[in-house]
Amino acid sequence: MVNHAKNAEAFNQDEARTNWHDETLWFVREKRDKASGQIPEWEALRELASGIKDHTLSKLDVYLEEFEKKATENGIKVHWAVDAQAHNEKVFEILSDHGVKRIVKSKSMLTEECHLNPYLEEKGIEVVDTDLGERIVQLAEDTPSHIVLPAIHLKKEEVGEVFHNRIGTDKGASDPYYLTEAARQHLRQQFLTADAAITGVNFAIAETGGIVICTNEGNADMGVHTQNVHIACMGIEKIIPRAEHLGVFLRLLARSATGQHLTVYTSHLHKPKEGSELHVILVDNGRTEQLGRPDFRNSLKCIRCGACMNTCPIYRRSGGHSYGSTIPGPIGAILSPGYDLEKYSSLPFASTLCGSCSDVCPVKIDIHTQLYKWRQVAGAEGHIAGSKKRAMRFMGMVFGSPHFYRKVGRLMRRAARFMPNKWIYNRRNVWGKSREIPPMPKESFRDWYMKNRLGNGK
């Protein structure tokens, strides 16, 4: 069971660090504002992207089969995996066929979701994450805290410490240029000595049977070009119908993610290079189940830009790890309960329903509405603490009866007025830990209205 509130409280113990985390991500949000503001048709573009995704999801089977057909014609080997285990087994099968001992992997949230790294390592295959942020968390034996900025929770001094211990940089060195150059040299060795490459997929185009991978470091390309076996792993929702749709999403993706116009590398792969193999694994892992939930299906429109994380005032002040799920933040809080409601039932409550996530989302997922709906599912299916349930039932009764409501209101105000402060600010009064309770006036508005407008003191 993930207890987001408890994790968030721990994160907030160090206020200076919370401020630093908040400001770092807000800076990314501001970059997004600037970049999106340069496109006059931004809102129309969001609408178009949302429409394309809605359409695609309504015909997902058709487009997936079209993709399989075209990709196969191009010489790509297409595989289907019903869940994480099937995906991992398929990857291992391909790697075993080629006697692979070490792989280079560019960023793929899907392989994180499937826990591919520990699976392969158990089978004796070394996995080297080649995205800089992912490599940092891998060397630190940590997990990503953000889908676009995996190591955003670490300061450069901490990265320096990890690099000193793991790849031999100078002790105490924290200069970003020095550390990045060291990582570059270290990763270059990995690319040259690996046996296969694994990448994620940002978009798969049904019409052409090609895949598109977006990176800023060119590490996907380094893997693809240095290895003779390339496995690209993708969730089935990554499909788009036509090549002409790609531009819509590419214009939105990088701007929403980091405020760049485009990612530095946008790689289009349509067939294996001479003498090599290109495998694409299409993974379901709960996606068709989500597709079958009318209230939650459009969460599958997500293009993994991370903008909802950068904008979320709770994410910025609780950190990605507080969500305890592969995908953190608002989008994670509507995806994760679909996998395991009991485990992730606290996540839809890690929100004030402020709606910033929905307004920033480049494909217009109604994230905060879905958070509200997951709360109702959690409430109805008994995943909310008994004390809260009893309190809510009582409130339901109070507000269900005008007479009872007035009586309880009067009693509460009177009790609070006469109670000594130390009784009010007791340990169980969570509100009162850092906040004064509101004033407790002698009369309600209704009392005032009776006296002053109806001339009736009752």
């Binding site: 987001h4 509130a5 409280e9 907030n12 206020e15 908040d22 807000w26 504002d33 999106s36 496109i39 931004w42 809102e43 904008t311 005032p313 709770i314 002040r317 839809p348 409550f349 890690a350 929100s351 004030t352 329903l353 402020c354 709606g355 910033s356 920033v360 509200y372 709360r375 109702q376 409430g379 109805a380 909310i384 809260k388 809510m392 039932r393 409130m395 339901g396 507000f399 269900g400 009866s401 005008p402 409501y405 209101g409 509460m412 105000r413 969570v430 509100w431 830990k433 906040r435 004064e436 309770i437 004033p439 407790m440 006036p441 309600s444 508005f445 209704r446 005032w448 209205y449 407008r453």
Partner: protein
């Protein structure tokens, strides 16, 4: 114009002066205001906590009290949004979303107010409540790439003497969020502190908002820390 006043439960019980200011300003703008006496709560506190199903009675109390009226006004964006989204009027051709108005929304869109009586000589910081801003679209949120406007800000600028102070993160959530304020206490408090600091950094004297719930949370923090910052509902400022 005949208007029914919908006073959210916590305003009725804890902030009666806010409802009085709302009533007085509506009256001074020429409305005949009725206050249905048996109103309680729209049911939002339970619903946002995952218990919409226990709020059915509260919703039917709302319908009993207000279905009669064509214009229903409340000094709260959050409660109005909840009514719009979750309370079904018995006659589907008269949905509550067409008839229930947040106070500023009513002043701007229905009464089309061009001037306000009196003056208010203070440096005012506007806290845009999320449910008013992104829910009811009382303005354009900072995420959207549309021509900026804000109904509450427009009304404040109409009020003589008000110096409306620009803020850095002008539409970031204050962290109240209903039961969130208690169940996620640490983050809620941090968000509130950060909002207050933004107002202090810009030398705000009076922090105002369309929603008293945001202000209850912020004022709780302000009072605990004895910060010299006054909190007032926008109806009080506009009526001042």
């Amino acid at each position: 114009m005949r208007v029914a006043l919908f006073v959210p439960c916590y305003i009725d019980q804890l902030y009666p002066h806010v409802a009085v200011a709302t009533l007085e300003l509506l009256e001074s703008l020429g409305c005949t205001v009725a206050f249905p006496l048996d109103q309680t709560c729209c049911g939002q506190p339970m619903a946002n906590a995952g218990f919409e199903h226990v709020s059915a009675k509260a919703m039917s109390v709302f319908i009993d009290n207000f279905d009669l009226y064509d214009y229903i006004v409340a000094p709260s964006g959050s409660c109005v949004l909840h009514v719009h989204e979750h309370i079904k009027a018995p006659d589907s051709s008269r949905p509550f979303s067409d008839r229930v108005f947040e106070f500023c929304q009513f002043l701007m869109d229905v009464l089309e107010v061009k001037e306000l009586p009196g003056s208010f000589n203070q440096k005012v910081g506007l806290h845009e409540s999320c449910h008013g801003l992104r829910g009811l679209r009382l303005g354009v949120s900072s995420e959207l790439r549309k021509t900026p406007y804000s109904k509450p800000a427009h009304l404040l600028s109409m009020k003589k003497g008000v110096e409306l102070v620009p803020l850095t993160r002008w539409d970031e959530c204050c962290g109240f969020g209903g039961t969130f304020a208690v169940s996620e206490e640490a983050v809620s408090v941090k968000m509130g502190k950060d909002r207050i600091q933004d107002h202090l950094d810009h030398e705000v004297e009076v922090l105002t908002s369309t929603d008293m719930s945001c202000l209850m949370h912020l004022d709780g923090l302000i009072k605990k820390e004895r910060i010299p910052l006054k909190v007032m509902h926008i109806a009080e400022v506009l009526n001042g």
